[in-house]
Amino acid sequence: MIRLDHVTKSYPNTAKPALDDVSVEVDKGEFVFLVGSSGSGKSTFLRLLLKEESPTAGSVHVAGKDLSRLSHWKVPTLRRTIGCVFQDFRLLPNKTVFQNVAFALEVIGRHRHQIEKVVPEVLDLVGLDGKADRLPDELSGGEQQRVAIARAFVNKPMIVIADEPTGNLDPSTSVGIMKLLDRINRTGTTVVMATHDAAIVDSMRRRVVELDAGKVVRDQARGVYGYSK
């Protein structure tokens, strides 16, 4: 589903590359934690999957496509196969919960009647049934993140990318979000999640890829958070 082959990414005007000869393969339906301290290259890793950046060297394959051969105008099609969740939720404050989720379908040209059928289903899935008409400001942080997950998942993507989705949430709310991501993973969706949250990684016991200074220093099948010494 995702394959990085000897990927190096250097940003202009920086001495050290953000990713240094990274090779990682993620199969369909896997759940992978990406851990590492700030600046270790987690965000660059995720941005490469979305083709927001292109690697300096090496190749990135996502959903069977070589991203370096993907033409500029096909990038939107790639992004429709990937759902994204962020630490800061990124909801539109002047739209209701329903409209926020529907927005993701409207802008890719889905029909009205289809939107009206699918959005309530996905709101039900994330546990927000009955809150469709609320504005994001009226919701708790955990609920806002559920809206964001609903938006990421409403298009039934093959991959969900989560960049520190629990970073702004308290531990008990985080557990709820992780259960939700776990449920999404069980539908066969590949999940890649970057996180700092040791408790979550340790409790989930999923594959852990640790980055340090742009290199993969650990790739463990049922790993824990702890830094390798």
């Binding site: 939107p76 790639l78 992004r79 994204c84 993701a104 802008v107 890719i108 298009n155």
Partner: protein
């Protein structure tokens, strides 16, 4: 997307940024009005050329002491020239009558003029006005001829002055158009910044570039269209007040009419909308990177 929805989105976008929008519309209007008056001036010049060049003649003025025989031989030779279309003789009396008619607004000038003061002449109409040299070289040195005058030369000086005005309007309009393009680019930049949250999410969920950029393009094009509309209005006012005013005061020439105005309208609209769309597009490529 329904047309009404698109239109209301455009209006919301333009209102959000009202001062910039007004600046864009005014700049586009002025630049296009200048461009349009440049085009109309060109039409006017062409009209005047056609009107006057049809009427201009070569005048061969005769000396006072010209003999009957000299006059007759000049006339015969003129008639024999293949370049000549028609020859008219104007006696001293004819010349005086014409002078009286031309300056009837200034009676004191007419009163002071001596009936004998004006020379007699041949008015020669050429088949091709460019062939003036043939006539001039053949008759300038002839006995009985005083001077050979080409009226066309006088007109040329006038048209040269008009041409300079025309160049000035075109240069002015180009400068204004450049300013308009920068203003539009700036407006789109501000609009893109104020909507970066929406566009960011759009990119993330895989909206196509066209879908993301179209509202901005339409906003720019719409402002350009309104500006072009205003420019057409200004040109119409110019026609009604300036040209039609002149038509009353100066009657001896042709003037541009409504049809000339309508013929430049499509160009102005095209220029206004096209300029805005191109400026928006270039800006978006830079500020709405996918």
């Amino acid at each position: 997307m329904r047309a009404q929805f698109v239109l209301s989105e455009i209006l919301i976008g333009l209102r959000r940024n009202l001062t910039m929008t007004v600046a864009v519309i005014v700049t586009v209007a002025i630049s296009l009005a200048l461009a349009g008056s440049g085009l109309l001036l060109r039409r006017q010049v062409d009209l005047m050329k056609g009107y006057w060049y049809d009427r201009v003649e070569v005048s061969i003025f005769l000396v006072d002491e010209v003999t009957e025989a000299q006059r007759a031989s000049i006339e015969d030779d003129l008639q024999a020239l293949p370049e000549v279309e028609r020859v008219e003789y104007e006696s001293k009396d004819d010349a005086y009558e014409r002078f009286k008619e031309q300056f009837k607004e200034s009676p004191e000038l007419v009163a002071n003029a001596d009936r004998d003061a004006l020379p007699e002449s041949f008015r020669v109409k050429l088949k091709d006005p460019e062939k003036f040299d043939v006539v001039a070289s053949a008759f300038a040195e002839r006995a009985g001829v005083d001077t050979v005058l080409n009226q066309r030369e006088l007109l040329k000086t006038f048209f040269r002055a008009v041409n300079r005005i025309q160049v000035a309007t075109v240069v002015g309009s180009i400068l204004q158009l450049i300013a308009a393009a920068f203003l539009i680019s700036n407006t789109i930049r501000v609009a893109a910044f104020s909507r970066r949250r929406e566009t960011g999410i759009m990119r993330l969920v895989g909206a196509s570039n066209l879908y993301i950029q179209l509202p901005f393009l339409l906003e720019g094009a719409f402002a350009g269209l309104i500006g072009a509309g205003l420019a057409v209005g200004m040109l119409a006012l110019l026609k009604v007040f300036l040209v039609d005013g002149l038509r009353q005061d100066i009657t001896f020439t042709a003037y541009v009419g409504w049809s000339a105005l309508w013929s430049v309208v499509p160009w102005l609209l095209l220029l206004g909308v096209g300029l805005s769309a191109v400026a928006s597009f270039v800006t978006l490529r830079k500020y709405l990177r996918v």
